[in-house]
Each structure stands twice: as C-alpha cells, then as structure tokens.
C-alpha cells in the first residue's frame, strides 16, 4: 500500500514562491493501477518525482509498505528505487548505442545482480515484450514502438513493486500506444504490481482502477476504485 500524506512542495523563496504541490493526500492499494491526470504544469510530474523519492518535498510523507521513503537516507532511497521501483518515460530514454540486452541489463547491474542471473532475467523480460529476437540489436535500429517496448522490458526486469510511467504513450501513434498499454496493464495484473501512470490522456486514464485528477498542485478529484477484484497478488514472476 502506498500512502501519500499532505505532500507540499514549493519552489523559490519569499514572495516569489510557487507551490507545485499543495497538501496532497491519497492512498493506493497494492496492485492497483492509478492514473494521475492533469494538464501540463499541474504538478503531476512533481507528484511522481516525490512518490519515487527523486524529489524531496518540504512537507508530507510517502509511506510505501509502512516506510516513509522521504525520511530515508539518499543511499537507502537509491536502493529502494533500484530494487522495488522502475520508470517508463515519454521519450523512452533507451541508450541508442547499446544493444537491447545492455539496455535492459542496466537496472540489474545497478542493483548488483550477478551476470548469470542477469542473463536469465533480461532474456525473459525481452521475450515478455516480444523483442526476444532483437536481443543483440542496437537500440537505435528499433522503431518508436519497439523502443518503448524495450523501455517496458527494462522497467519490468527487476520485478518492481511499483512502476511509474510518465506519459508512456505520448510519443506513439494510437495503435502502438495500445500495444504498450496492454503490455503494462497485463503485466501489472499478472504480477500484482502497482502501476502509476502520469498522463493528460483521459482515455488512458479511464483504463486505470483509480483516477487522481490534479490541478494547480491540488487534488481535484479521486475516483472510487473501479474494480475491487485486486486482492491477492500472484507470485512475482515474469510470464
């Protein structure tokens, strides 16, 4: 379970202060998919950064599995991100000059996973996104959709508990976008992973269990969980 309690983040000093997040609180049950919906500048990205420990808001708590990650030391937050979280970005951020294998292997290397273990997991992750045949190809030779699938593989390879996706389909046409959405929702459901999608796309948000609408750093509305069947997470394995 993720509890966000009265998060407040301001930029600047004295009369020039700008409040990016203003007393934001909500709760996400384990294994739920959540859309953080808002226009650009609404504070949705800042919220994501705070929830993942990349940013440190002045006030508030982010409690994941009973632990306030904002109170952890940098080293511990880094370890938390390396082992329990992952990210997908709008512009993929795959390393063009590296092979698919090396791209997907990066989070495991950061987490200090052994070489043999890495090989197994990377292969499985690439097969899960149907890029098993591209294992040795350079990322720059992939199409946009393939690149984002590669990013998905990189995001799921360390079997995270929480996956943050920042406009995951923003740079893709609707057909390839749908493929990525299916991959993400399918994987999250099968593995009981919490999926947090930051987007301004109402259609994508509608597919999530919970919609958190955010405007000017404040929560506008939180929808009731659409589906209640998320109860017991399945064993954490990549299918």
């Amino acid at each position: 379970m993720i509890e966000v309690k009265s998060l407040t983040k301001t930029y600047g000093k004295k009369q020039h202060t700008f409040t990016a997040l203003d007393d934001v609180s909500f709760t996400i049950p384990d294994g739920a998919s959540v859309a953080i919906l808002g226009k650009s500048g609404s504070g949705k990205s800042t919220l994501m950064h705070a929830m993942s420990g990349l940013d440190r808001p002045q006030v508030g708590e982010v409690i994941i599995n009973g632990e306030d990650i904002l109170k952890l030391k940098t080293k511990a937050v880094d370890k938390f991100r390396a082992t329990k979280m992952s990210f997908i970005f709008q512009s993929f951020f795959v390393q063009a000059n590296e092979t698919c294998f090396d791209n997907v292997s990066l989070p495991l290397e950061i987490a200090g996973v052994s070489h043999a273990e890495r090989k197994k997991k990377v292969t499985a992750a690439l097969e899960a996104v149907e890029l098993g045949d591209k294992i040795k190809s350079k990322a720059k030779n992939l199409s946009g959709g393939q690149k984002q699938r590669l990013a998905v593989a990189r995001a799921i390879v360390n079997e995270p508990e929480v996956l943050f996706a920042d406009e995951p389909t923003g740079n893709l046409d609707s057909t390839t976008g749908d493929v990525i959405e299916d991959l993400l929702f399918g994987y999250a459901k099968r593995n009981g992973m919490t999926l947090i999608i930051v987007t301004h796309d109402a259609d994508l948000a509608a597919k999530c269990d919970i919609e958190v609408r955010i405007k000017d750093g404040k929560i506008e509305s939180i929808s009731e969980p659409r589906k209640k069947e998320v109860t017991k997470p399945a064993p954490r394995r990549i299918q």
Binding site: K75, A82, Q95, L106, I110, A111
Partner: protein, 427 residues
C-alpha cells in the same frame, strides 16, 4: 554496482566515442612515449657505461695517488720537500709514491696486491723485416675483461706480451693465430742518457692477440700488455739515473673482494693517500646519464601535464553529452558514488590506452632504432642504447592511469551531483 560491470560500461561508453577517446589518449600517449624512451635510454646508458667501467677497470681495483698538498690553489712559494716529486715549475709539483708507500699499503687489511702504475713509452716496437711503430707498454692485469682473437691471457709471465689486433696487422702477421708464439722487439731508451746507456731491446713472445674493443675507448687497450716484471724492468731501465727512478705516479690496489673496496678506500685515505674506486673514476658518466634522463623525463611530464587538461575537457563534454543517461541511471537507483566511479574509470581507460599506445610505440620505435644508433655512434656490436625493461611499461601505464583518474575527478563529481529530475528534462 559491481566494479566489473562499471569497468565494462565505462569501456563501452568510450567505444561509442572512438575518435574523441583516441585523440585524448594520443595526447597522453605523447607523454608515455617520451617517458618510456627516456627510461629505456637511462637503463641502456647506465648499462653501457657499466660495460665501459668493467672492461676498462676492475671493480675490485683502487687507484691510489699521494695526497697532493696544493690541490688547486698554488699561491706563493712552496717549501721544499725532500720526497720525490715531479716539478712542473711555477711552484707546482706532483708528489709521487715511493716503495715505502707501496709497502705500507700492501700491509693493510683486505689488500690482495699492490701494483705501481708503470707508464713505459718505449722508443718503438718492431720485428724483423717490419717497420718501427710507436707504442706504450702497460702491465698486464688478468682482471680486465678482454676478448682474444687468438691465444689467451692465462699465462702472461716472464718474457711474454699480449698485443692488440691492430699491431698484429701492422707487424705483418697474416692472422692472429699465426702471431702466437712469435716474438716482437720492444726498444727502450733511458730518459737520462748521461751514463752513456744504450737502448735496450726486449724480445717478447706473443701469447695473445686481443680484439679491438669498442668499449675500450677510455683506456689503453690499444697498448701492448706485458707481464708486470718486464714492464717494471723497462720502467726502471728507462728512468734510471733520474730522481723518480723508484717512484711512481700512482699504484693500483687490488682488494680481496668487491665488498671490501669501500672499507679499503677509507682505510687508504686515512693513511694519507688519495684512493679512488673504479666507480669514482666513472661516476661522472653515470651522473651525466642521470641528468640527461631527468631532463627527458621532465619533457615527458610536461606532455602529460598538458594532456591532463585534455582529459578534463573530454570528460566534461562527455558528462554534458550524457546528461540524460546519467539522469536515467540515477532514477534507476544508481548511487552517486557509482556514477562518479563510472566516470573516473572512463578516465582511467583513457590513461590506460594512452600509456599502452605511447609505451608500445616507444618500444617499437626504440627497437627499430637500436641498430641505427649503434651504427651512428659506433657502439659495440651487441650494445643496445635503448633497453626496455618490463617494469617500465607497467609503471608508465599504471602511473598514467592514476594521473587520468586524478584529471577525471572534477568531471566525475559533476556527473555524480547531477539532479536526475533536471537531467531527465533535457531532451
């Protein structure tokens, strides 16, 4: 992140910027090249000088002269001294050693033998039916290394002589082998011909012919070598009637072992003489080589210093270029320390490449140049002036890697401090 994975990733990043990596490495390679070559030249030079010392002198040998009173400063009239001396006028005279001095030194500890330095310049050397040639005769010392074309130096006693190959040729022997067992005539005339003394001819049997040594430039291996007794006789015959008949400019003292040389030197000096070891005599050569090597290494160090700025620049550009990658790695949980280490290792790779390229090139060039240097400087046949020792490569490469890591610290710190949120915003 494991060190091995970091090293691999660092290597891959460099491979992705081949031209830049290579150029930066070449800059540091210039320094590596110079330093490796100067180390090789130093080693080769010292070895060459060592060869000269051992082929011209014996390390167990000390060169002993009387202590001169007026070293350097000749001012005012000097008091008369009854000991034998050579007077050069102007109040300057050179003291000589007497037999009593020789006996005194012989009785010291660790002395194997004392041989007065006899410098005999006979009138000429010749043999029947051949022309007369100028020469000098030295006492044969079995301890000096020399190469024999024929015969050997095992039995230079009595009326025997060892001649250089050049004399063998002019004296009309067809080959070195043919000269063995033949005799040459050495004619000595007294310096003070007052007593109506005649020239005296010494007929000596050739027992050895020595090869012209390339290393013997500094001493008289171009002179004839006769047994000590014969040379002494010649010396006394030539000097008879003069005040210095039984006095010598110097004596060579042979120590019982190499280890005893330094003690013996001190001992002899305490007795009021001036003793110099072979090393003392040759020390100027080593000093010269060391200074030269130091200057060369200085140039290399300067090149390395310049390349440090190149590395800093390259790494800063690399950090800027890969802002987004660094942001991603930090978002994925890579620790600051690991990010910094990644960039330091990249710098180390550049240093390794530069060191390997530079020292490798130095080895190739040096090895190729050795025969040419030998010809130009007419060194000995097997002498290499550039000697590469394996440790120098290791030292140069490791040293440059450390220097590069030092240069990479600032850019690495910049990378480590990068804010991932800012970094991921750049596109």
């Amino acid at each position: 992140m494991r060190l091995r994975d970091t090293i691999r990733r660092a290597g891959r990043s460099l491979k992705n910027a081949k031209a830049r990596t290579l150029l930066t490495s070449l800059a540091i390679g210039v320094g590596a090249f110079t330093i490796t070559l100067s180390l090789a030249a130093g080693t080769g030079g010292r070895e060459y000088a060592g060869d000269i010392v051992s082929s011209n002198t014996n390390v167990r040998e000390l060169y002993v002269q009387p202590k001169q009173d007026t070293q350097g400063s000749v001012s005012g009239p000097q008091e008369y001294d009854d000991t034998p001396s050579m007077s050069f006028g102007g109040g300057f005279s050179l003291k000589l050693l007497e037999q009593a001095d020789i006996d005194k030194i012989t009785e010291l500890d660790n002395v194997e033998s004392v041989t007065p330095v006899y410098n005999v310049t006979p009138k000429y050397v010749t043999r029947q039916g051949e022309k007369k040639y100028q020469t000098t005769v030295e006492a044969f010392l079995g301890t000096i290394q020399q190469e024999y074309l024929a015969g050997n130096g095992d039995n230079v006693t009595g009326e025997t002589v060892v001649i250089p190959d050049s004399y063998r040729e002019v004296l009309g022997f067809e080959s070195a082998r043919a000269a063995i067992g033949q005799t040459v005539d050495i004619v000595v005339s007294p310096v003070a011909a007052a007593g109506g003394l005649q020239d005296k001819t010494y007929s000596l049997k050739i027992v050895g012919v020595t090869k012209k040594s390339d290393l013997a430039a500094l001493s008289g291996q171009s002179s004839l070598q006769a047994s000590n007794d014969v040379v002494k006789e010649m010396y006394q015959y030539a000097q008879q009637g003069t005040p210095i008949e039984n006095a010598y400019m110097a004596a060579t003292v042979l120590a019982t072992s190499e280890d005893a040389v330094e003690d013996l030197k001190k001992n002899i000096n305490d007795q009021g003489y001036d003793a110099q070891t072979a090393e003392d005599l040759m020390s100027f050569i080593f000093q010269f080589i060391n200074v030269l090597q130091g200057v060369l290494i200085g140039f290399g160090a300067l090149a390395v210093l310049t390349s440090i700025f190149g590395i800093i620049n390259t790494q800063y550009i690399s950090v800027l270029e890969r802002t987004q990658q660094i942001g991603l790695m930090k978002a994925l949980g890579m620790r600051r320390r690991d990010v910094g280490r990644l960039f330091k290792i990249e710098a180390a790779w550049i240093g390794f490449l530069g060191g390997a390229i530079g020292s490798g090139l130095a080895f190739a060039v040096g090895t190729a140049a050795n025969p040419w240097i030998r010809d130009v400087l007419t060194l000995g046949e097997k002498t290499n002036l550039l000697i590469f020792e394996p440790w120098t490569f290791a030292a140069v490469i490791i040293g440059l890697m450390l220097v590069s890591v030092g240069a990479g610290i600032l850019p690495a710190r910049k990378a480590a401090k990068l804010d991932p949120i800012e970094a991921l915003r750049t596109e």
